[in-house]
């Protein structure tokens, strides 16, 4: 059964009914990320797309409140009119999961789907200031606030980002915004091997240039994207007003050991292709992301020996195809991994989300119970029972 609540009270009624009937829900917005996570076997689907619309946008406060089912594209269009944007650069994975829909803000937050600018401005979790949600008892409650600086009670907004809806459906969210850069340049260093290409990116990451994108594309992926570029290519995105931007570009050579960074012609959407998974989605194999300390990126890639890979976030996020279980290796480098795309059976067999030690696993279960005591929401999507 597909349930489509028209407002949060209807949703709360549905949750109470589900609790008494012992029926579980799969929560969807526009259904663009149903392929992410373990396979959900729920009795019903609750579709939040009708909980849509911008509730309050205050450009001078750099804050926006929207219903959870609002399409990200609608929010971004409203922000662009005031030269503002979402700093975490929401990643649009709709095509990656083979859907034609457009992501909702609730879905993007629940998956913590952050793009390349995460490197500079933080993840989705760093931008959600407050929310309203329905818990597993069918109660509507709120958490956080509408201001950027707030330590009033537990920071539940962070807990909900990346929780994949397992703690309950968000109904309304308040986000902080950042001013949109006037101008943007993407530069490329061609013919660099993984070790040196990533090392250069880290040097720029540690410089005052405040880059908003640092990606490394090894030979195979680079051939797809740019034709023959030799060993691989390092991509650098820098932003600013025109004159300061020119100055930043001018400083770049001092960080490059004599290598040349040249402007890329079809520039900005290259980072969208990386963050959205478009650069890797044509692969037939399972696709993972591994999050490792940036300085371990090349070593991690070497150890995993993927058939196809690329790196975002100065090496902090690796997209990998043609590898088996990545969790253990990512963990051995002090990081973690996420199985982004695989068939249903694989997603039930391997750890989609990071392996948890017994202490953490027990807490994960207890936190789930604290929000969803009857385990109604997205059963098993993250872990068995969560």
């Amino acid at each position: 059964m597909i349930l489509i609540p028209q407002n949060e009270n209807e949703l709360a009624d549905m949750v109470r009914a589900a609790a008494s009937d012992e029926r579980s829900f799969e929560i969807v917005g526009r259904g663009t990320k149903r392929g992410l996570g373990r396979t959900v076997r729920a009795d019903d689907v609750v579709d939040l797309s009708a909980l849509s619309g911008i509730v309050r946008y205050e450009p001078n406060e750099l804050v926006i409140t929207a219903r959870a089912g609002t399409r990200v594209a609608e929010i971004e269009a409203a922000l662009a009119e005031k030269n503002q944007c979402l700093g975490f650069e929401p990643a649009d994975w709709s095509a990656f999961y083979g859907t034609t829909g457009t992501a909702t803000i609730g879905g993007v937050l629940s998956a913590d789907a952050s793009g390349s600018a995460r490197l500079r401005f933080g993840a989705a979790r760093d931008h959600l200031l407050g929310f309203a949600a329905v818990n597993g008892l069918g109660e509507i409650y709120k958490a956080g606030g509408r201001v950027v600086k707030n330590v009033t009670g537990f920071d539940l907004p962070k807990l909900f980002c990346g929780a994949m809806g397992t703690l309950g459906p968000l109904t309304e969210v308040t986000l902080r915004l950042v001013p949109r850069a006037v101008d943007c340049a993407v530069l490329a260093i061609r013919g660099v091997e993984p070790e040196s290409g990533l090392e250069i990116l880290r040097r720029i990451w540690s410089s005052p240039l405040e880059p908003t994108g640092l990606a490394y594309i090894p030979r195979l992926a680079a051939e797809d994207m740019f034709g023959d570029v030799g060993e691989g290519i390092s991509l650098i995105r820098i932003e600013g007003a025109p004159a300061p931007l020119a100055d930043k570009i001018g400083l770049l050579p001092t960080l490059l050991d004599g290598r040349e960074a040249t402007p890329l012609a079809h520039d900005n959407d290259i980072f969208a292709r990386i963050a959205s998974g478009a650069a890797i989605m044509h692969r037939k194999d399972d696709i993972w992301r591994a999050f490792v300390p940036p300085a371990s990126a090349a070593a991690c890639a070497r150890k995993l020996a993927p058939a196809f890979w690329l790196a975002d976030w100065a090496g902090g996020a690796l997209w990998l195809a043609g590898v088996d279980d990545v969790q253990a290796v990512a963990q051995s480098f002090g990081g973690h991994a996420l199985l982004m795309r695989a068939d249903d059976a694989t997603r039930m067999r391997v750890s989609v989300f990071p392996l948890e030690d017994p202490v953490r696993a027990a807490l994960t279960q207890r936190i789930k119970e604290a929000f969803d005591p009857h385990r109604l929401f997205n059963p098993d999507r993250m872990f068995e029972g969560v």
């Binding site: 012992e22 205050e58 450009p59 001078n60 406060e61 993840a123 979790r125 760093d126 109660e139 509507i140 409650y141 709120k142 958490a143 606030g145 509408r146 201001v147 600086k149 707030n150 330590v151 009033t152 009670g153 537990f154 920071d155 539940l156 907004p157 807990l159 990346g162 703690l167 001013p179 949109r180 880290r202 540690s206 005052p208 007003a241 300061p244 100055d247 999050f291 490792v292 300390p293 300085a295 371990s296 976030w313 902090g316 480098f333 990081g335 973690h336 996420l338 990071p354 948890e356 202490v359 953490r360 696993a361 807490l363 279960q365 207890r366 936190i367 119970e369 929000f371 385990r375 969560v386």
Partner: protein
Amino acid sequence: MKLPPADTAILARRAEIVAALKRLVPDGVVSESAGLAAYDGDALSAYRQAPLVCVLPKTKDEVSAVLAFAQRERVPIVPRGAGTSLSGGALPRADGILIGMGRMNRILEIDYENRAIVVEPGVTNLAVTRAIEKRGFYYAPDPSSQIACTIGGNVAENAGGIHCLKYGLTTHNLLGVEMALLGGERLRLGGKAFGSGGLDMLGIAAGSEGLLGVVVEATLRILPRPPVTRTLIAAFRAVPDAGVCVANVIASGIVPAAMEFMDRRCIAAVEDYCAPGYPRDAEGLLIVELDGLEPEVAEQVTRVSTIARAAGAHTVEEAHSEQERARLWAGRKAAFPAMGRLAPDMLCMDGTIPRGALPAVLARMARMSEEYGLGFCNVFHAGDGNLHPLIIFDVMKDGELDRAEAFGADILKLCVEVGGVLSGEHGIGVEKRDLMPAMFAEADLAQQGRLKCAFDPDGLLNPGKVFPTLSACVEQGRMHVKRGRIPFPNLPRL
């Protein structure tokens, strides 16, 4: 504010508890009354309470052992860093163990390649920057107590500071923590990688005010020091003009490193105290700091000056040397002691409001000050709307503490009324605990309480802080048995 009544059964067992702790931490137990007096409170100075006993562990295992003991013996436990909390977060209990983390003060690892530093919880905030500045790096959160306050306390309170407008609070600069849980188990979250995977427990650890666990290690993000920092002051004849200036700077797309406001009373007090050279004829003063690369900063300095003049500033001046810049900041940072000279006691409030509400809130606070017959001044982080009204009073004068607290509570309720929050960076502690219902409905607080139960079902970790009443965790402990099956029988449960 009433402190909770002590559990007499625990008081009666004091000697036994002291002896047990001495076995766990042989060289780190303070139990004689003169020694305990040093630990009888924090920077919320109106409240004093010596702990039952104080324990000062030096290792993670000692912390775990103490927490396991506390749970086994059902003794409340209060974590403490340097005791600089302004909200009473580290206020001891007569029937509770105070666990002081100050001896765990080593920097464990500096990793420039990954822009991370790993520290023990008792390392001071400033010591982090000191350890990395020679390589051109720094740690961004800079609460005004940074010379003394510890990283463990910063994590617990999600400390901010002057520069969090651009660089975020502790939570945005925290890559990983290891926490000792009640019962002694240790939980590691995050590390040098981006994100911590799974449910974001790292996100709720920051700002949890010692209610979920005790931080025994933290991994922090370090930042490259911007090559250029320039600081301006803009003086206004009318306070609302300063508010307009703040709004217009933000609306113009500039994110200053800092944007601070002081009112006339504060300017006068600071001038009398350390003469930073602020114009005494101003009703309001803004200090704006811009950092980054030279041309970008230069362009922004010009734009901010233009915006300030257009908003009605009669003086806009820039610090022309590092010395002058330090002097301008010295005044701002001396607001506390300067006001402290005007009266024996002071309450520093900490609400955050939408920036647009500044003029109205400032006017309302001035009226309240008259109604309560208590002096106050306004300093605040204007860029992010985080107010720090300082209320001055004399605790020895009959009824003044009550009046000061009522005045403070009215200010915070006003913050909530205009769409803001009770605390921007000091935490709720005991100070604002009873105001939580002004911001959160019963269902909101109950949900937070259930999260607390997930970590501390016995309610022993820093009890009496943050939440006005914490209902017992019984309901949560009951496992939902669906269709006669215990859910997930193979999963570990604490």
